[in-house]
Subunit: 428 residues, 4 copies
C-alpha cells in the first residue's frame, strides 16, 4: 500500500451530489473545513527507515485521513443505516452507537437508522430478533451504562443470509441501491474495530483499552492489599489479553505493586531455577508477599497436551491460565511445606462491562463520527483507525489476520520489567 495505489482506489469513488453542511453560519454560509481526499497520514515515522525508503525511491506508505468530505455519496433522505455490535463487551460501545446516530441525524439528516439486535444473529430471521429504531431520543443517554444497547453475540452466521437481510431492509430505497449496484458495490460497510485487548494491527489504540487499564488497577490494588495482609500472601490477577499483553503490561505501569507480569509474547517457565515458582519462593522469603499479573493468553504452552480434553457434557475444558497458575503455586508450596495464602482475582467481566471513562468517550466520539463521514463519502471495506494521533481510514484487507503484539525489546515491556523488577523467567 502506498500513496499512489490508494489514490487510485479513491478515484473509483463516484462524485457525490449532496453537500454536507456540518455547520451553517448564521448567514447561511458554510463554515467548516472539509477534509480533502488527498490528505494522508504517513505510517512510518522512524527517521532512518524513511531515509532508506527515500534512498531506494520507495513511496512512503500512508493512510487516508478520516473526516467529513465535501461530497457525499448517499442521499441522506433515502439512506438506511444499520448498526451492529459483535463479540465480547467493551467499554465505549454505546458511545460509538450514540455518536454514529447523532452524526447521521444532525450532521447529515439521515433518519432511517436501525440497530441490529444481538450481533449477526439479528440479521437472521429465524432468531426472531426485532430491529431497534435508533432515534436521537433513544441514544441520548445510553453512554451512561456499559455494555451495548443493541446486544451482541458470538459466532459466525451465514453471510448470504445477512446480505439477504440487508437487501430486504433496503427495498424501499431502490434507486440508491441501483446506483450502488452500478458501481459494483451493494452496500457500504465501515467498521470500528473492537477489541479491549488493543491488539489490532496498524491501529495504535482501540477503544475501551484505556478504561480497561483504569479499572484493572483497582484489581491490582486489591490483590496487593490481600497479599500484604497475610504471611506469604500471594495476589494473583488474570487480565484480558488472549494474544497480546497490552492490558497487563500497561496496568502494571499504572499501578506499580506487581512483582511478576506474564504475557503471551514473552515465554516463561514455571519449573526450573529461573522459573516463576522458584522466583516466587525467593520473593516470599525476602518480602513475605507477592503480586502476579497474568494476561489470559500467557503460558498457553502448558495447555498444549490438554487440547482434546473434554468435560462430562462434552465441552472442551477451559484452559484458564489463572486457575492453572493458582493450582501450580499451591501444589509447589504444599510440596515445600510452606504455608501460603493465595487470592485469585479475575476481574474481566467487571471491566469489560463498564461505561467508558472520559478519555475513551472522547475517542469513541471521534471513531463514531468519522465512521459516518467515511460511510457517507462512499468508503467501504475499511475501518476507522488511529495512527500518529490522527484518525485514518484503514483498509480491512490490510489488517485481516494480523495482530499487534507487545515488542519484547520495546519500551513498554522494558518499563513493565522495571516496574516489577522481575528477571527473565525462562530457563536456557
Amino acid at each position: 500500500m502506498n500513496i499512489d495505489s490508494i489514490m487510485t482506489e479513491i478515484s473509483t469513488l463516484g462524485e457525490a451530489k449532496i453537500p454536507t453542511p456540518v455547520q451553517k453560519k448564521s448567514d447561511g454560509t458554510e463554515d467548516i473545513s472539509f477534509v480533502s481526499d488527498l490528505s494522508r497520514v504517513i505510517i512510518e515515522v522512524d527517521g532512518s527507515r524513511i531515509s532508506q525508503m527515500l534512498k531506494k525511491s520507495q513511496p512512503l506508505p500512508s493512510f487516508e485521513l478520516a473526516g467529513p468530505r465535501k461530497h457525499i455519496f448517499f442521499d441522506p433522505s433515502k439512506l438506511k443505516c444499520a448498526l451492529v455490535t459483535c463479540g465480547g463487551l467493551c467499554p465505549g460501545l454505546n458511545d460509538i452507537i450514540r455518536s454514529i446516530v447523532l452524526e447521521l441525524h444532525y450532521g447529515y439528516g439521515v433518519s432511517n437508522i436501525f440497530g441490529i439486535r444481538y450481533g449477526l444473529q439479528g440479521f437472521i430471521a429465524s432468531y426472531g430478533h426485532n430491529l431497534i429504531d435508533l432515534t436521537c431520543e433513544f441514544v441520548v443517554n445510553i453512554h451512561d451504562r456499559g455494555g451495548t444497547v443493541l446486544g451482541s453475540s458470538r459466532g459466525p452466521q451465514d453471510i448470504d443470509d445477512i446480505v439477504d437481510s440487508l437487501e430486504r431492509m433496503n427495498t424501499a430505497a431502490s434507486r440508491i441501491t441501483d446506483k450502488i449496484a452500478d458501481r459494483g458495490l451493494k452496500i457500504g460497510v465501515v467498521g470500528v474495530p473492537k477489541t479491549i485487548d488493543n491488539d489490532i494491527y496498524m491501529v495504535s489504540r482501540s477503544f475501551g483499552f484505556d478504561t480497561a487499564v483504569d479499572v484493572a488497577t483497582s484489581a491490582i490494588v486489591s490483590a496487593s492489599n490481600e497479599a500484604e495482609g497475610y504471611p506469604n500472601g500471594i495476589g494473583l490477577i488474570k487480565l484480558m489479553g488472549r494474544h497480546s499483553g497490552f492490558i497487563a503490561a500497561t496496568a502494571v505501569l499504572a499501578q506499580q505493586d506487581v512483582n511478576f507480569v506474564l504475557i503471551p509474547e514473552v515465554d516463561f517457565d514455571l519449573e526450573g531455577p529461573n522459573g516463576l515458582l522458584n522466583a516466587l519462593e525467593k520473593r516470599l522469603a525476602e518480602r513475605k508477599h507477592a503480586v502476579i499479573v497474568a494476561a489470559e493468553g500467557a503460558g498457553q504452552k502448558y495447555f498444549e497436551s490438554e487440547k482434546n480434553e473434554r468435560d462430562a457434557s462434552g465441552n472442551i475444558k477451559l484452559k484458564d491460565i489463572g486457575i492453572y497458575l493458582k493450582e501450580a503455586i499451591i501444589t509447589y508450596f504444599v510440596g515445600k511445606c510452606v504455608d501460603i495464602s493465595i487470592k485469585y482475582i479475575d476481574p474481566s467481566y467487571m471491566i469489560r462491562s463498564l461505561p467508558a471513562n472520559a478519555n475513551d468517550r472522547v475517542f469513541c466520539n471521534f471513531l463514531g463520527r468519522n465512521s459516518v463521514h467515511a460511510g457517507m463519502s462512499g468508503r467501504t471495506g475499511m475501518l476507522i483507525g488511529h495512527w500518529n494521533n490522527q484518525f485514518v481510514h484503514v483498509p480491512m484487507k490490510l489488517i485481516a489476520e494480523k495482530r499487534k503484539k507487545v515488542n519484547p525489546r520495546g519500551s513498554l515491556w522494558r518499563s513493565a520489567l522495571e516496574a516489577t523488577g522481575q528477571s527473565s523467567l525462562k530457563n536456557d
Copy 2:
C-alpha cells in the same frame, strides 16, 4: 441483662486516679463533657414490647453508653497497648488502627503502642514475626490503602502462648500489672467486632459493610450489562455473607437490576415448578435476560451430601454456591436445548480489600476512639457496638455464638423482594 445487673458490674471497676483532659481550653481548664458511667441506651424500642415489660415490672435491658470517662484506670505513661487484626480483610481496618493510635497518643498520652503482625500468629514466638511500633507518623496515612498494615491470619493459636507473650511485653509495667492482678484481671481486652457480613448479634451495623454494599453495586451493574448484552444473557454474582444475607439483600436495593436474590435465611429450591431454574426460564422467555445475586451462604443444603468429599491433595472440596449455581443453570438449559450466555462474577476479594468509603471512615473513627475510651476506663471483655444510633459497650459474652439474621418477614427482605419482583422459590 438489665440496667441493674450491668450497673452492678460497673461498680466493680476501680476508681481511676488520672484525669483525662481530652481537650484543654486556652486557659487550661477542661472543656469536655465526659460520659457518665450511668449513661445507658435501652435496647428495645418497640412500644408494645416495652409496655409489656413495664406491665410485668421487668427492667428495660440496656447497653452502657460508650465515650470518654472522667476517670481512667491505667497510667498512660506506663501503659503498653497491643493491636491485632484477625481473619479476613474488611474495609476500615486501617482506619480503626489509625484512630486507636491517634486517640491513645493525643487523647491520653500513651506512647507504647505495638502492632501484632499477622493476627494471633504474631503472639507466638516460633513464627518469628516482629512487632510494629505504632507511632502517629506510621499511621497518619494508612487509611488511604485497604487491607491491614498489621497483617492478619486465620485459625486459632494456643491461648496460653498468647497470654505468655502479652505478659512478656508487660514486664516493664509491673506496677500496673500488679494492680490489675489484684482485681483478678490480667489485662484489659476491648474488641471492635469485624465482619463485613454485618451479622453480629446485638450490633446494628459492623464497619466495612457500607463500603461492601457500595462496591457490590458495581458488580451488579456489570452483571446486568453482561446479561442484557446477549440473547438469554444471565449475570450471576456471588456476594459475601456466609450465614446472613445482609450484603446481598442491601446491594439488591442499592442497584435495582436484580431479578433473583438468594440468602442463607430463606430456603429455595433449584428444581420443581417453583424452583429457581423454572423461574429463571420463565424470566428469560419474557425478558431475554436475568440477573441473580447469591450470598455465599445461600443454598448450603445442596452441599450436605458432599460433606466429606476431598480433592486429590486431601483438601475438603470447596462448596461454592456461585460455581454450583452456574453449573446447575448450564446443565438445565443444555437439557432444554436453550442457548444461554452466563457470566459469573465473584467480586469478594476486590471488595474486602478496598479502603473504607467516607461513611465507614467516620464510623471506624468512632469505633476506634471509643474502644480506647473503654479500655482506658478499665472495661474489659467487651466490644464497641452501635445500637439505636449510639455507640455502646456490648459484653462479649452476650454476643458469643449468636448471629444477627435477615428477618424473612421484615422490611429489608420485603424491600428486596419488591426490588427483584421475585416470588417464593420454594416448592411446598
Copy 3:
C-alpha cells in the same frame, strides 16, 4: 405527643376496603407481614431519662412505625397521585421519585401518577408547565443521574391555587374525593423531608447527607494538597450547612486533613489572642500549611451590620462566609507581611447535584416506598422519618420551625475537635 394521643389519632382513620397483596405466593395466598397500626418506636433511648418518666408515670413518647398496612384507604384504580420536588437539589431525589412510582404501580396497582414540574410553580396554571406522566418506563433509570427529573423551584406559591389545581386533577375521581371530603380530608399529603444539611428535627438522618459527606471529602483532599503544595499554603473549603454543621463536622471526620472547622452552632472570633487568625498564624509557623472547613452558616455574626446592604440591582448582598474568610485572611497576612497562598473551594453545586451513593439509594428506596404505604393507608400531614434505625411516621406539626443542631458537647463535635486538634477559637 405520646402513645395514647397518637393512637387516638390513628383511630380516626377509616377502615380500608382494599387488601394490599404486596407479594403473592405461587398458590395465590399472601405472604407478607403487614405492619400493625399499633406498632410504635419509642423516641427516647436514654436509660436514665426513661427511668425518670416512668417514675413520674409519664407515657413514653413514640412514633408510629412506617410500612405497608393490611388495609388501605384509597382505591388504587381511581387514585391520582402527584409528586413534586421543591427547593435545592439533593442527591437521591430521583431515587425517591423512582421508588414511589414503582411501589404505587407494582405494590398497589396505581397507574395515574403525575409529576409536577418545577416545584410549586407546576401547580400554578399561569406558569404553563406541563405535567409529566410518571410511568415505570420513565423512571426506571432516572436514579443514574443527579438532580430531579421533575425540576424544582424555590419560593412560595399561592396555596389556594395549588389546591385548586389538585382538585382539577381529581375531577374524574369524584367518588374517592367525596369519600375523603366526608372525613374532612380533601387529599392525603405525605412528605419526604429534603435537606442535604441533615438538620431536620426529630429525624436522625435525611437523604443525600451521606453522599454529600462522601463527596465533600474530595474537596478536603484537594484543599489539603493545595495547602501542602505551597509555602504557607492555606486550603479553605465552604461546605453546605446554613443552620447546622453536620456536613462540615462529619466530613472533617471522614477526611482527617483539616485543622480548623467552623460551624453555626459554635461561636468563634476572627481577631484576638484566641481568634482564628492568630491560631492560623501559629499553625503556619509550625507546619507551613493549614486546611479550614467552614459551614456556610458559620460566623454569621460578621454580617449583622451588613443586613441592609444591597447591590446595584437592589438585591441583598450575599453574605458568603467563605469569601469573607478568604478576604479576612489575606488582609491579616498582608498586614503581617507574611506571604501566603490561599485557595478557596466551594464545591456545593458539585455535591448537591450528584447521584446518590449506594447507601443513600437504599435509604431513599425505603423513604419512597414507606411514603407510599403511609399515603395509601390514609395518613396525611406527616413525613417519613428515620429514628432509632426504624422508618417512622413523623407528624409535620411536630417538626415545623424546629431544627436539629450539632450538640457542642456531644460526641460528633468532640470527635471533630479531636480530628482537627483545634482549641476554642473564642476570646473570653
Copy 4:
C-alpha cells in the same frame, strides 16, 4: 531543525564510560535493547507536506527518540540529582518524582537524589527551606496523593543564586563537574513540561491533561443537573485554559451535555444578534435550560479596558471570565424580566490537585524514566515530549514562547461544535 542539524548536535556529546545494564539476565548478560542515538521520529506526518519537502529536497524535521542509551555520561556513584517542581499543581507531579527516583536508583544506581522545596524558592538560602532526601522508601506511595511532595511556588528567583546553590550541592563531585566544565556545560538540565492546559508547542500531550478532562466531566454533569432542575436553569462552568481551550473543548466531547463552549482561540460576542446572550435566550425559550463551558482565557477582550484597575490593596483586579459571564447573564435577563436560575461552578482547584488517573500514571512513568535516560546520557537543555506516539527529546529553545492552540478549523473544534450544536457567536 532537521535530521542533519540535530545529528550534528548529537555528535558533540562525549563518549560515555559507564555501561547501563538496565536489566541483567540470570547468566549476567545484558538483555535490553538500548536506543540508538541515531533513532529519530519525524515530526511531519502529512503526506502532501512531506511530498512538497521532498520535491524541494528539504530534509524532514525530526526529534531524537527518547530512551536508555548504551553509554552514559555521569558516574552514578558520584552524581547528585536535584528535582524541583514549579508553578501550579497538576495531576501526576508525584508520579513523575517517583519514577525519576526509582529509575535513578534501580536503573542507574544513583543514590544522591534531593528534592528542592517549594519551587525555585528552595534554591535560595534566605527562604530557609530544607532539602528533602528522596529515597525509594520516601517516594514509593507518593502517587496515591495529588499535589507535589516537594511543594511548589510561583514567580522567578535570581538565576545566579540558583546556580550557586547547585554548585554548593555538587562540591563533593568535583571530577564529574570538571568533566562537564570542560565541555562548557556546568550541569545537565532535563525538563518534563508541566501544564494542565496541554498547550505546549511541539508536544502532543502534557501530563495531567487526561485526568483534568476526566474530572471536568463531573463538573459538567453537575452543571447540567442544576440547569435541568430549574425553570430557565443555566449551568456555567469555568475550566482551566489560559491561552488554549483544549480542556474545555475535550471535556465538552467527553460529557455531551453542553450547549455553548467558549475558548480563547475563537472570538465571540456577548451582545448583538449572534451574541451569546441572544443565543442563550433562544435556547432557554426552546429547551428551558442551558449549559455553558468557558475556558478561563476566553473572552479576555472584555477586560482590556480594565487593565489597570486595582483594588483597595493595590492588587490588579481579577479578570475572571466565569464571574463576568455570570453577571452579564444575570443583568441581561433582569433587563428582559426573565426569571433565570444560574449556577456557577469553578472546579479548577479540585481538578488540578487530584492524583493522576491510570492513563496519566503510565504517561508520567514514561516521562520520568525517559528524563532520567536523557540526563544520564548527557543531554541538557531539553524536554521530554510525546510526538507521534513516541517519547522524544524536544530542545527547550524550540518551544520557548510558543504555544499550541486549538485549531478553529480542525477536527477537535469541529467535534466540539457538533457536540454542543452551537453556531458562531460572532457578529459580522
